[in-house]
């Protein structure tokens, strides 16, 4: 009886090991199963989801106009103080004073990509862009001004 | 078991206990000196509260409150036990001989709130460093989760 158990132990053990080896052997002989992405080489074909939260950007149209009114909703919504809105008063040709942004300072090194600023924005002035290659050698480069120089607010946006 | 029965039962153990039924579960406030016998009775008596699922402390600026969330795996009734503590000399008896999980939870409360658990087998800091940071006022105590805790280096106010 003891001998029978002993032999069945050995046989079962060895067969379970062979099953595992069959599985790894299968993958060894089937190079088609390889899932490696050759990252820096496949930049051209690398597809990120359009929703991927990489960094906050401010879209500008062809006339270098954006839709940010400088309402600071994003600044208030941000949990880490990533966004700082610097406003100025523009004088329109009619002589009316109007609030506008001077600079929308965005500090990428503090950002946690939580998307709360984008949800808070009433005029869809900022959005998340699917970029992920953010590494720089100088930390100050991570502090960005989102509105392009010379840009102004699009007509009709309040 | 209805709330009334529980109240009746608890009143028989701790006559000084007061009840509060506004929340989701039955809340009960006991004297800090009465806590240990009450807890022991809840664990062993007809309640059989064998599962301590949350143990924490709340700083109400005037006093500290120990909060114990108890439940039972048999009848699944949850109750909340509270005990008010003096801020200057926060002391309460340990419950870690009743529920083993309290050992770590009490160590956490000890370092975060400065509550001294008497008869605790191994009351040391668990998460923070053994020694308080340099230049810190030793008399005030280094208890980060208290409301008057100030740390000009690591805490940034937005």
């Amino acid at each position: 009886m003891f001998l029978k158990d002993y032999i069945s132990d050995v046989v079962n053990g060895v067969s379970s090991l062979l099953k595992g080896m069959r599985k790894t052997g299968y993958y060894f002989t089937h190079p088609k199963e390889i899932i490696t992405e050759q990252y820096p080489d496949n930049r051209a074909t690398l597809l990120l989801s359009e929703r991927f939260k990489g960094e906050v950007v401010m879209p500008h149209d062809a006339n270098n106009e954006h839709t940010c009114t400088g309402c600071t909703a994003c600044e208030l919504a941000c949990p880490n103080g990533t966004i700082k809105v610097v406003t100025k008063f523009e004088v329109s040709p009619e002589g009316k004073k109007k609030k506008a942004i001077d600079a929308l300072v965005y500090r990428l090194e503090l950002c946690t990509m939580c998307n709360l600023c984008i949800v808070a924005c009433p005029s869809d002035a900022i959005k998340m862009a699917p970029n992920f290659e953010h590494s720089v050698f100088d930390r100050t480069k991570l502090t960005k001004v989102l509105n392009q120089p010379g840009s102004k607010i699009r007509e009709g946006i309040e | 078991m209805t709330n009334e029965e529980i109240k009746e039962y608890i009143s028989s153990i701790a006559p000084a206990a007061t009840f509060d039924e506004t929340g989701e579960w039955l809340n009960m406030i006991v004297e800090s000196a009465q806590l240990k016998p009450t807890m022991a009775a809840l664990r062993t008596g007809k309640m059989q509260m064998n599962y301590l699922f949350c143990l924490t402390c709340v700083d109400f600026k005037t006093h500290l409150t120990m909060v114990y969330h108890l439940s039972a795996t048999t009848h699944r009734q949850s109750i909340v036990i509270k005990a008010n503590l003096n801020r200057e000399q926060a002391m309460i008896e340990t419950v870690c001989d009743i529920w083993r999980t309290a050992e770590f939870l009490e160590r956490e409360v000890f370092e975060m709130f400065g509550v001294d658990f008497t008869n605790h087998p191994d009351l040391r800091k668990l998460i923070l460093e053994e020694e308080n940071p340099k230049g810190f006022d030793e008399k005030k105590g280094y208890w980060p989760l208290r409301k008057d805790f100030e740390d000009p280096i690591n805490m940034i106010k937005l």
């Binding site: 090991l17 080896m21 790894t24 052997g25 899932i35 | -």
Partner: protein, 358 residues
């Protein structure tokens, strides 16, 4: 036909013709040492790359493919990096033993090369107790590992070394018994005779089931002896970080690393010699044409092919199985492998006496 045998004879003849016998012998020694060292270097490079490629393909990865075509020069780059790295010695380490240990381990590998027949009549030293020599020298490697573990003055290293000591000493037994089965079948301890005895068929085919069992036992035991997964308890990455070579860095680490692969090569070479006929080509019964074609493949290719097949097998084990626990490891040896190998030896003795083998 290209033959290593011809080259060695020519070189020897030329040396003895030009110089007096003593000088010629000394020069032969130098040549052999240089060849052995260069073999070590090449084997290290090839085997490390092979391991990484095998692992990668089993793990549905590509493996190194950036340095050189298909990553061929990856290990060269790694070696350069290791040479340039600072070799740290811990403050409280036993400096002498710490520096000595990697060399002891390497030395064992070098000594073991001596009796291996790489091709027909291409052997450094055809000693008449070859098998005995191999099993006695190979057990020396445990000294180097113990030395490293003790001298590092690191608790992980010490634990790893102690594990390794227990492991190698016990697995020596079943490796020895597995080798003995072939010795019983052949009736000689000399490796060249063992190879010659397999002219009309390899022992794994000729020796019936006992030879197959002996082969399986041998592979398991040598996997343990070379500290390879699933028996890599001496290193046990997830338990002891790196076991006995935790404190080693730079070139000293590289020597340990190299020694591991050299040891694999040697045990597989011996395995191929004993069970698969060494450099003997595959001959099947009376198929004259087939046998003739097989003879055309150089004997060194046969030897290397068999050895690398066994090396692949050991690598396959490593990337499939979990690691054993230290007491289970000893259980496996003393409760399973040793009784089976003893029984197997008995069986082989009966077969050999009755002449049942082919």
């Amino acid at each position: 036909m290209f033959s290593l045998e011809g080259i060695t004879t020519n070189v020897q003849d030329w040396l003895f013709m030009k110089f007096n016998p003593t000088l010629a012998l000394a020069m032969e020694c130098v040549i052999v040492i240089l060849l052995a060292i260069s073999l070590f270097a090449i084997l290290g490079l090839v085997l490390v790359l092979m391991e990484r490629k095998v692992a990668a393909h089993i793990q549905i990865r590509l493996g190194p493919n950036r340095v050189g075509p298909g990553g061929m020069f990856q290990t060269v780059a790694d070696t350069l990096k290791l040479i340039m790295k600072e070799g740290l010695v811990p403050d409280l380490a036993d400096k002498f033993l710490f520096n000595l240990a990697p060399f002891v381990v390497m030395m064992v590998g070098m000594l073991l090369l001596a009796p291996i027949a790489f091709a027909k009549n291409f052997q450094i030293w055809d000693i008449n107790i070859g098998v005995l020599y191999i099993s006695s020298v190979s057990s020396l490697s445990v000294i180097g590992i113990l030395m490293a573990g003790w001298a590092s003055n690191n608790k992980y290293s010490l634990l790893g070394a102690m594990r390794s000591g227990a492991q190698i000493v016990s697995y020596e037994l079943s490796a020895g018994f597995a080798v003995l089965t072939i010795v019983v079948l052949t009736g000689s301890l000399q490796l060249s005779e063992i190879v010659n005895a397999q002219q009309n068929g390899w022992w794994i085919f000729k020796g019936h089931i006992p030879a197959v069992i002996a082969f399986v036992l041998y592979i398991i035991a040598v996997t343990a002896e070379t500290n390879r997964a699933p028996f890599d308890l001496a290193e046990a990455e997830s338990e002891l970080t790196a076991g006995f070579h935790t404190e080693y860095s730079g070139m000293r680490f590289a020597l340990f690393f190299l020694a591991e692969y050299i040891n694999i090569f040697i045990v597989c070479a011996i395995g191929a010699t004993l069970f698969f006929g060494g450099w003997m080509p595959l001959h099947i019964g009376n198929w004259e044409a087939f046998n003739h074609i097989m003879d055309y493949i150089p004997s060194s290719v046969w030897f290397m092919g068999k050895t690398f097949f066994l090396i692949f097998l050991i690598m396959w084990f490593r990337w499939t199985f979990p690691r054993l626990r230290v007491d289970q490891l000893l259980n496996l040896e003393w409760k399973y492998l040793l009784p089976i190998s003893l029984f197997n030896l008995l069986l082989v003795a009966v077969i050999a006496i009755l002449g049942w083998h082919f």
